[in-house]
């Protein structure tokens, strides 16, 4: 490749060369390290154990060292003309600061802790080492500047892990209080994660041959790793709850005819073919397995009640604000007020419900008070998103309708609202996600108890009663205290004493409750997304 170094203006580049392959392997190596670091952070990979027959820490160290050496070799090869690249005169200030930050940390840490120079010594060390890294990045040509400091960082980290200076048992006692210390379990994954990011950046730049194309590749790899890590974190969070919760959820699970409890569906008594005691039972003295059915039903009714209350009100307010009210001081005030309401802490809503609603609905905590409180919480978001959705409906539709002689209200009903519906539904989905997990308002307005007997499962539909006196319809279930999943989870975590006597495995019970809460909220999401998809399809396909 040395001979081809002169033709850096050629339009079509040659086929993949060995050097390109080295850089590509380096990028792949960074991705693997990144994944390993994330996995180790969530304890999916044990640091004390082995991976592929090698000690995990040793493996991480080896890979980091290899990556670092590869990056330096590529940069040096390019500088000496062995590799065909197109570098700029300097790697630039941003790359300089980027490289300086980890070296500041390394310099500070080594000077103050390893060499024992104290805080002042640490600061000096940090400045000196960071400054050298900055200078080494900015001053030489780009191919050397963007590989040498980062490559040495990777090699250093790798060697520290490889030689066991920082091993799985390493602890850095910060000395602030008994609990403040940095353990290897935290430090090794984090150091690997950042090293992998830097390694990926440097090797992507190398792969692109430095210059504008190299920077493009570098940014591309960073953005990609970022997006991947967000997805990975979400996935890991859900997976973690599922793994922890499934054993508790499936205790006593049975599948087969006649195993489930008897229920009445549309007046016919049916025996369900599955039995999942955890979601089908309440708590009772003689139960083999205890469950959280009352809390599930409570959460579902709570969300339904809040949505029924907030959506018509919110959409109506949005229609008024966008279609009828003149844009001016009044709409601005309403806008500020709704935004303010949306950021009001939930405990404040809870207190309002406690002080204002409870005395008016039977003087006790009740499902109805909870519904109304959560409805108020949901209202501002529905107003805000519905307004946005209606404002984004093109005026051409309104003009076309008006030019046909159709009245304003009919235009709103038949053209504006259908076109705005997907946006409105999006708002409701977001809001439901928030209120279904709210604990504080429920605590103050409808809390039932830590363990709720199955007999207390609310039956809103079944308890409508006709009465002789006004208001002629009554529903005692709405006025009873009941529980909801987030509150029950909170109560289970804080209960402590007495927990063991009611359920055999309190920890499994908690995690299973958390899993059920997650599933309930995700089901609401799924319903909302399906609705939005349906309405959006109707707008574009029919």
């Amino acid at each position: 490749m040395a001979g081809a170094g002169q033709t850096d203006t050629q339009l079509v580049e040659g086929n993949t060369t060995e050097t390109d392959a080295v850089a590509a392997v380096a990028i792949g190596l960074s991705a693997v390290l990144f994944a390993l670091a994330v996995a180790a952070m969530f304890e999916r990979v044990s640091l004390t154990g082995t991976l592929a027959g090698v000690q995990t820490v040793t493996l991480l160290g080896g890979l980091l060292t290899a990556l670092g050496v590869a990056v330096i070799a590529f940069g040096a090869g390019s500088r000496l003309g062995y590799v065909e690249t197109d570098p700029d005169p300097s790697a630039g200030l941003i790359a300089g600061f980027g490289a300086a930050v980890p070296w500041v940390v390394v310099g500070g840490g080594v000077a103050s802790q390893t060499l024992g120079l104290g805080t002042a010594g640490g600061a000096v060390g940090a400045l000196v080492v960071g400054g050298v890294a900055f200078a080494l990045t900015v001053l030489p040509r780009e191919d050397l500047g963007s590989t040498l400091p980062l490559g040495s960082l990777l090699t250093l980290t790798g060697l520290v892990f490889l030689t066991g200076v920082i091993g799985p048992d390493w602890v850095w006692d910060l000395g602030w209080a008994q609990t403040a210390s940095i353990t290897a379990e935290f430090f090794i994954p984090v150091a690997t994660l950042f090293s992998a990011l830097y390694g990926g950046w440097a090797s992507a730049k190398s792969y692109g041959g430095f210059g504008a194309r190299g920077r493009h590749m570098g940014a591309y790899v960073l953005v990609y790793l970022n997006a991947l890590s967000i997805v990975a974190f979400l996935f890991i969070l859900v997976a973690y709850v599922v793994v922890q919760g499934v054993p508790g959820l499936l205790t006593g699970f049975e599948l087969g005819l006649g195993t489930g409890p008897q229920t009445t569906i549309l007046g016919v008594s049916v025996t369900l073919p599955v039995s999942v005691p955890f979601v089908m039972n309440g708590v009772a003295l003689l139960n083999d397995f205890q469950g959280v059915l009352p809390a599930i039903v409570g959460t579902v009714w709570l969300v339904i009640g809040a949505v029924v209350l907030a959506v018509p009100l919110g959409v109506g307010a949005a229609v008024f604000l966008t279609e009828y009210a003149d844009r001016g001081r009044f709409t601005q005030v309403v806008e500020v007020a709704t935004n303010g309401l949306w950021s009001t802490p939930s405990i404040v809503f809870g207190l309002f419900g406690f002080a204002f609603l409870i005395p008016r609905f039977g003087n006790g905590k009740s499902l109805l008070s909870g519904m109304i409180t959560l409805g108020f919480m949901l209202l501002p978001l529905v107003v805000i998103t519905s307004r946005e959705a209606m404002l984004s409906v093109p005026d051409e539709y309104r003009d076309a309708s008006a030019a046909l002689g159709v009245s304003k209200w009919q235009t709103i009903r038949s053209v504006v609202l259908p076109a705005a519906l997907p946006g409105v539904v999006t708002g409701v989905i977001l809001g439901v996600g928030r209120i279904a997990g709210e604990t504080a308002p429920i605590l103050l307005t409808m809390a039932g108890g830590t363990f709720i007997p199955g007999s207390q499962t609310v039956d809103v539909i079944g308890s409508f009663q006709f009465t002789a006196a006004p208001p002629f319809v009554a529903n005692p279930a709405l006025l009873e205290a009941t529980s909801a999943l987030p509150y029950q989870l909170f109560a289970l975590i804080t209960a402590g004493v007495g927990l063991g006597s009611s359920v055999s495995d309190p920890n499994a019970f908690r995690w299973a409750t958390a899993l059920v809460l997650l599933v309930v909220v995700l089901s609401f999401y799924a319903i909302g997304i399906a609705t939005r998809y349906y309405f959006r399809r109707r707008l574009t396909h029919t």
Partner: protein
């Protein structure tokens, strides 16, 4: 032509004459509109009569004392440079300017002898009789069938709702007849007859615009206002729209705003020229306006010296 209007034009011309010396000193470009230039004698009835129409947007005087009569079953083209008020004028003819809150309108517009700027005018009825087609195609995000049935449905002329279907009183057949008639009149039927239930947004730009014309026909208008209906379309789609306008003029009164002078010359029977400042400078037979305009400014505009 009523006596009333004649008298008014006489007084106007007197006023213009007395102003004449002042404007000559101000230079050629300040040439005044003479009322005989905008006095257009046509055979037949006037469908709409506009008298001394002024429009203000806030402090901006967008249209200055425009008077003209629009003959029925013909194509009237409104041309002029951007910002000359021709679209504003068009939107006054079915009171679409009422929807702009800052707009203030003075003067008189009559439709078939009835004043439309007076208290108690039924806007629904007015806009049913004076339909409008907009610059960019704006079909509703609904099926082709629903787009056309929309107007009559909302006016209660067609009922295909759930209740009507349950009571066996659905007007589905009438609706389908109407859809076919409007689409045939808009020269779109052959292209879409097999996909009436597809979303209208899936049509091409030219087809969408013809669908908008069909939608406008669905409420059985007498006058059709078109605001640069072909400006967003390619030449082939434009040619189709122009042919369509030609056909529509046999039954309807068409008023069309256009930027394109060749288009105006091709399709219109009479042409009104608005020039910057919101004045109607010349109005007459299309051939006369294009070949032998009275006003120098109009001649300059038409020959491309400005605007």
């Amino acid at each position: 032509m009523s006596e009333n209007t004649t008298k008014q034009t006489q007084t106007e011309s007197a006023a213009t004459d007395s102003d004449q010396p002042l404007t000559t000193t101000a230079g050629e470009t300040a040439e005044r509109t003479q009322s005989e230039w905008t006095e257009y004698d046509f055979r037949g009835e006037a469908k709409m009569t506009v008298d001394d129409l002024d429009v203000y947007y806030g402090d901006d005087h967008a249209l200055k004392g425009v008077s003209m009569e629009i003959p029925e079953q013909s194509v009237t083209a409104l041309i002029g440079p951007s910002g000359c008020g021709k679209s504003t004028y068009l939107r006054c003819l079915n009171r679409m300017n009422d929807r702009v809150s800052s707009a203030r309108i003075d003067g008189s517009v009559e439709l078939g002898g009835q004043e439309i700027y007076q208290d108690g005018v039924n806007l629904v009825e007015l806009r049913k009789r004076v339909g409008m087609v907009f610059q960019s195609p704006n079909p509703f995000p609904k099926s082709i069938r629903e787009n056309i049935a929309y107007g009559p449905k909302k006016h209660g002329d067609l009922d295909t709702g759930l209740l009507a279907r349950l009571l066996n009183r659905s007007d589905a057949d009438e609706r389908d007849e109407l859809v076919e008639r409007c689409l045939r009149d808009a020269a779109l039927w052959d292209e879409v007859s097999d996909r009436l239930d597809d979303n209208a947004l899936g049509l091409s730009g030219g087809q969408q615009q013809r669908l908008c014309i069909a939608r406008c026909l669905s409420v059985d208008p007498e006058v059709i206002l078109m605001d640069e209906p072909a400006s967003a379309l390619d030449p082939i789609a434009t040619a189709k729209i122009e042919d369509l306008i030609d056909d529509l003029a046999e039954e309807y009164t068409v008023v069309i705003v256009t930027h394109n002078m060749q288009q105006a010359a091709r399709i219109s029977d009479q042409t009104a020229v608005f020039l910057t400042g919101g004045e109607l400078v010349e109005y007459g037979d299309t051939d006369q306006v294009f070949e032998n305009p009275h006003s120098e400014r109009v001649e300059d505009y038409i020959t491309g010296k400005f605007g």
